[in-house]
Amino acid sequence: MATTPKNPPALTARNLSIFFGANQVLKKISLDIAAKAVTAIIGPSGCGKSTFLRALNRMHELNPEARLEGEIRLCGEDIYASQVEPVIVRRRVGMVFQKSNPFPTMSIAENVTVGLRLNGVRERRLLAERTEQSLQMAALWDEVKDRLHAPAISLSGGQQQRLCIARALAVQPEVLLMDEPASALDPLATQKIEDLIIQLKRDYTIVIVTHNMQQAARISDFTAFFYLGELVEFDATTKIFTNPAKKQTEDYVTGRFG
């Protein structure tokens, strides 16, 4: 079922099951996330796609009732090994959320470098360089370079989301997770985010959860279809959207349910 991407996978999940209390939300998921490519995760609400995404950087642990079985490896290293700190994992695997959340008490520049500063980086030149670099990568530099000290919340919705992407990129993660990053944005802003993602995949591994199938078809290389906590099908995006192997996938993709 897994296709053969060119490089070794960035993330691999094996028999991953997640329980919230007595409720099993993910059932033995095994999946390879290809490096420097975009993998989309689609499925109806409640199918476990967001939970899976969060497991990739140990964010699901914020729910005190969460329990995990199986393993996830980042470039071969088990991220749930007992000596591994979640904080370290999250610096290597960044996340951008559905609702943009730049810190309101900080300026644009402060927001970009917050991940560095709050982890002890003080050198001003490095921070300034990283600020410009990250804002360039997020296609936001030209729009804000003259007002880096303006409050972050003075930006528009689409700009705020790109700021959040710059903020995530500033800590130089290997993988970028995106949970429906454009669903709260207007079509033009969405377009910009999509173009940005296609550009970013040259340097980063990206996993994106989306409920918009056309978006998944537009920007992703591989697509995984989840349903009721199970991985139903995982293949190259073109195959999933022109000729899926499983009837369930076909039904979901053609809008017969979900």
Binding site: M213, A217, T242, T254, G255
Partner: protein
Amino acid sequence: MENHFELGLDELRQKLLMMASRAETAVNQAVQAFMQRDHDLAVKVRADDSIIDAFEVEIDEMAIQLLTKAPLATNLRLVTVAMKISQNLERIGDEATKIAKRARDLAQDPPVKVNLDLPRMAGLALTMVKEALDSFVQRDAAAARALIPRDKEVDALNKQIHQQLAQHMMENPDTIARCLHWIVAAKSIERIADHAKNIAEEVVYLCEAQDVRHTLGKSSRTAAD
């Protein structure tokens, strides 16, 4: 609640079948007019071709509209296949018109005395058209695949008729004008069979997402050669 998109797809299918039925009828009537030297029927076939042409335009418009709704998987394949099948049906209609034109011209003249297998050839081609369209309706990829090699039979018959007529023309030069009409008619029937084969190939793509154009029944030359 109704799925409006599904309704749109159904309408597309219906239109395609209506067009197919018209094309079948046109071929039937054209061959009949040719064999039975029926001048009036030939004229009718030519006049009715405009209806087939109109169908092609309508189906293409419907397909474009459905494409703006970004269909996926089977629906996507259905829409693109519908456009291709309608194009092939329109060409079948055109070939029927050509046969009808020759029929109209021949009707005035005395018949040619050659024992030709044209009716059998026409029968084969007509069967291919009908079966191709049936396989579309039934979504029967196996039937469509079985159809594709039969194009060769029609080709062989065309060649045979061609040779027979060439021989006859050399022996009876006064029949050349009439024989040429027969050659053209045979060619048209051969083309009709080709189009039927194309339709069958599209049906295979629709059902199996396999593009079998230019591959089945040919020698094993690959693109790398």
